[in-house]
């Protein structure tokens, strides 16, 4: 059992952000964290999703592969890794905005992650996380290998959470 609990919450339609989230989760494990992986629900209606064969197929798979977020998750977590697609951050942003109703987030880390560190995707999540009392980590370094970068990011933010926990 690790000494840090890392909650990895992501939103993904076609699997690209899911891969980033998994890589970040793996990095957290490598840094000796216990992890939980959660996919936030789509905000789009069922008809819109059904009209996109690839979206629907991936959604069915991900609904099977991942547990939906639970109220106890953020309470359990020392660090919440938030992976969002570049083109749609509202799902993760809404999740973050709901956190303060689940308990105190003070002293916990929020670690937002988006493909290519897209500013337009990250900024709303930074803002929502800070407003909840979460300590927001800076984005990871960009590189030609987003999976390796996400893994390093998961390691790095777990170490940050460990350091924060040690001093609190």
């Amino acid at each position: 059992m690790g000494d840090i609990n890392a909650l990895v919450v992501f939103y993904s339609r076609y699997g690209a952000t899911e891969k980033l989230a998994l890589a970040a989760g793996l990095g957290a494990i490598q840094a000796d964290a216990n992890i939980r992986l959660r996919r936030v629900a789509d905000r789009a209606d069922a008809a819109t999703i059904a009209a996109d064969v690839h979206w629907k197929k991936n959604l069915d798979r991900m609904n099977r592969d991942y547990v939906a977020p639970r109220p106890a998750d953020p309470v359990w977590a020392d660090v919440i890794i938030l992976a969002t697609p570049a083109e749609s951050s509202s799902e993760v942003e809404s999740y973050v905005a709901s956190l303060s109703s689940l308990g105190s987030m003070n002293g916990k880390l929020a670690a937002p992650l988006a493909p290519g560190n897209r500013e337009s995707a990250l900024k709303p999540i930074y803002s929502a996380a800070a407003c909840c009392g979460l300590v927001v980590t800076p984005c990871g370094q960009s590189s030609d290998d987003p999976i390796a970068t996400a893994t390093s990011f998961g390691q790095h933010v777990t170490e940050m959470a460990r350091a924060l926990k040690r001093t609190s």
Binding site: G25, R36, V67
Partner: protein
């Protein structure tokens, strides 16, 4: 010294889709008197409803073996491994520096019954790996069939594990007997998987376990109707 762990004394969790009996402390079941035996840390007897399973979750520094008794188990992990496992097949995963995986009942109609076994590894932070192999069920009939051990073996195949431990399986008919020597200083765990087995005069029913220390040999004998067992030889 033989110490019996009765099936009905194990921990139990029932999530609706999963019924799991825990020989040793696991998840919400915690008993400081049953935290494992030598390197054997987890021995879960899991029944998973059709189409259900364990969503993506992580492991680190554990040798994880899956032994299916009935049904099919689908596995997918962060190493890119995606397989279906059935009876007379063995899956061994070294979580090492970190793995994320999911496991589901591969059938939409039939339940799956399997043992999930965790052994503490001999060294930490090793490169994660996955192995799976099938064997002829006759190979465990009346004899101990090596399932996993610390030596790499392809003929006959067995899983390599990063620990000084060996796991065997055997199916014994009524009265059929196997003698197994235990090297000085070593220990054993015998798990009843099905039917009834006598071990040095102690009867093991399905789900019973027996810790063995300070014994020089085991006499394993099929009791009424015979049975199936798992044997762990442990440092």
């Amino acid at each position: 010294m033989l110490t019996l762990r009765k099936a009905e004394d194990r921990g139990k969790s029932d999530l609706g889709w999963l019924t799991s009996y825990h020989t040793f402390s696991f998840g919400g079941y915690s008993d400081p008197n049953h935290m494992g035996f030598r390197a054997l840390r987890v021995l879960n007897d899991d029944r998973v409803a059709a189409g259900k399973g364990f969503g993506a979750h992580g492991h680190r520094d554990m040798e994880i073996l899956s032994y299916v008794l009935e049904g099919k188990l689908a596995h997918k992990d962060s190493m890119g491994e995606e397989h279906v496992l059935g009876p007379n097949e063995v899956q061994a995963m070294s979580a090492g520096s970190g793995v994320i995986h999911s496991e589901f009942n591969a059938s939409e109609t039939e339940p799956t019954h399997f043992f999930q076994i965790w052994l503490v590894p001999g060294s930490r932070g090793i490169k994660p790996s996955y192995q799976q192999f099938a064997y002829d069920p006759h190979e465990k009939r009346g004899t101990l069939r090596l399932i996993a051990g610390p030596e790499k073996s392809t003929n006959p195949p067995s899983a390599f594990i990063n620990q000084d431990a060996r796991m065997y399986a055997a199916v014994l008919g009524n009265g059929e007997t196997i003698n197994y020597p235990i090297a000085p200083g070593r220990h054993a765990w015998v798990q009843g998987a099905a039917g009834e087995i006598d071990v040095n005069g102690v009867t093991l029913k399905e789900g019973d376990g027996l810790a063995v220390s300070d014994e020089s040999s085991l006499t394993l004998r099929g009791a009424a109707g015979g049975g199936e067992l798992l044997l762990f030889d442990l440092a």
